[in-house]
């Protein structure tokens, strides 16, 4: 049996969130199990099933050079820009 990760999108949200994992023989079975285990209280209206081995992830501890480029570009943030007092609706 393979390990699958389960993602749910709730009625009120726009994106899927990771809620847990389970073992199943194939994607369809995993979908059924996810329905049984993860939406007992209608927590989601859409389920995504992904094989755990298909997930490629970065780690917080990865080489700093992977993340560094983000740290020195404050001009990408709206808060970097000081608005004149007279402008109140931007």
């Amino acid at each position: 049996m393979a390990l699958f990760e389960v993602f749910l999108r709730s009625k009120r949200s726009l994106d899927h969130k990771h809620v847990g994992s389970l073992h199943a023989n194939d994607h369809q079975q995993a979908l059924h199990y996810a329905r049984d285990c993860y939406i007992r209280r209608s927590e989601g209206i859409s389920i995504w099933i992904v094989k755990s081995e298909d997930i490629v992830a970065s780690q917080e501890d990865d080489s700093p050079s992977f993340y560094d480029p983000m740290d020195d570009k404050p001009y990408r943030h709206p808060s970097f820009y000081k608005l004149p007092k007279e402008i109140s609706n931007m």
Binding site: M1, L3, V19, G20, S21, L22, H23, N25, C37, R40, Q59, E60, D61
Partner: protein, 308 residues
């Protein structure tokens, strides 16, 4: 050598700054073993905890109560599953964990070794044991191991229904006929002390420099959680109009807490070590269920072989 030191430093930095340790992080072997042990105890408790309740499914007093009790039991199976998944990230397999429970190598909450003698016991367990478990599990949402902490967040949400169902049953009985009220009182009397013992040994008796606290696997002390539980529950006993199961329960104005009587830790040890009414029975039921379910595993094996 430099690398090993850096990894260790990174690990302790996470612990100290209340960050989560994740499955792919380096961790001391002793930490890994401790988390597995804590998880196993919890998993076994969820799994075995279903047994005292299944005892009353066929004899629930109404269809609504039957459906609610079934839902509670299903939740507990689900909790076991989330936690099995969390444990598997640490390198232990499902068959190993099942063997560990059945061989007695790992334990479960001793409180499930007591029998459920009446329908009121179902109410008392939900109200007190699940209620007590909430007290332990809310702090566990801050446990240092990531997968465990995330599983706890989900479990806590569901546990709340368990406690309310239990209390709802107690209200129905306590406000019912004299016979029902007596049944409720009797169940309270029998489950009170085992519930208090569930929070674990007093802080003075637990190992000095408890590693579980050092590694922030366990974020709060036993005595704190136990006292908080008592403070919350005594007014709930008052509302039911039942008598205190402990004559020494009394509000202490100076401490701003309820005082309570001495816990009989000898009983705890004897039940813990196997002399409870149901110790052998629980494991035997688990073994039977596992054997009886073998045809499902066989069918899945055959299906897999056919499609490989």
């Amino acid at each position: 050598m430099q690398d090993a030191k850096r990894q260790e430093h990174s690990f302790w930095e996470k612990i100290e700054s209340n960050k989560k340790v994740e499955p792919k992080d380096w961790m001391p072997d002793a930490y890994r073993k401790s988390v597995i042990r804590a998880l196993l105890n919890h998993i076994n408790s969820e799994v075995i905890g279903m047994l005292p309740e299944k005892n009353w499914v066929t004899r629930a007093p109404s269809l609504r109560r039957k459906a609610a009790l079934l839902a509670k039991i299903q939740d507990e199976a689900g909790h076991g599953l989330y936690l099995y998944s969390s444990a598997e990230t640490l390198g232990i397999s499902r068959p190993e964990m099942i063997e560990s429970l059945q061989s007695g190598q790992s334990q479960y909450l001793f409180v499930f070794n007591y029998p459920t003698l009446t329908w009121a016991d179902v109410g008392a367990i939900g109200w007190l044991v699940d209620g007590g478990a909430i007290g332990q599990q809310v702090p566990l949402q801050r446990t240092s191991y990531g997968p465990y902490a995330r599983a706890m967040t989900r479990i806590c949400k569901e546990e709340s229904f368990h406690q309310r169902l239990g209390y709802d049953i107690m209200i129905t009985l306590a406000k019912g006929s004299n016979e029902q009220k007596q049944m409720a009182q009797d169940a309270l009397n029998r489950w009170w002390w085992p519930t208090l013992m569930m929070f674990g040994l007093p802080d003075t008796r637990t190992a000095h420099n408890d590693p579980l606290m050092k590694w922030k696997i366990k974020p709060e002390t036993n005595d704190n959680i136990r006292q908080r539980f008592i403070d919350q529950t005594v007014p709930q006993i008052d509302y039911l109009g039942l008598e205190y199961p402990d004559p020494e329960i009394k509000w202490n104005e100076g401490r701003q807490h309820y005082d309570f009587g001495k816990i009989d830790w000898d009983e705890f040890y004897s039940v813990y070590n196997g002399s409870g009414h149901c110790n052998r029975d629980r494991i035997q039921q688990h073994k039977s269920a596992h054997q009886e379910g073998n045809w499902v595993r066989e069918a899945m094996r055959k299906y897999r072989e056919k499609h490989e």
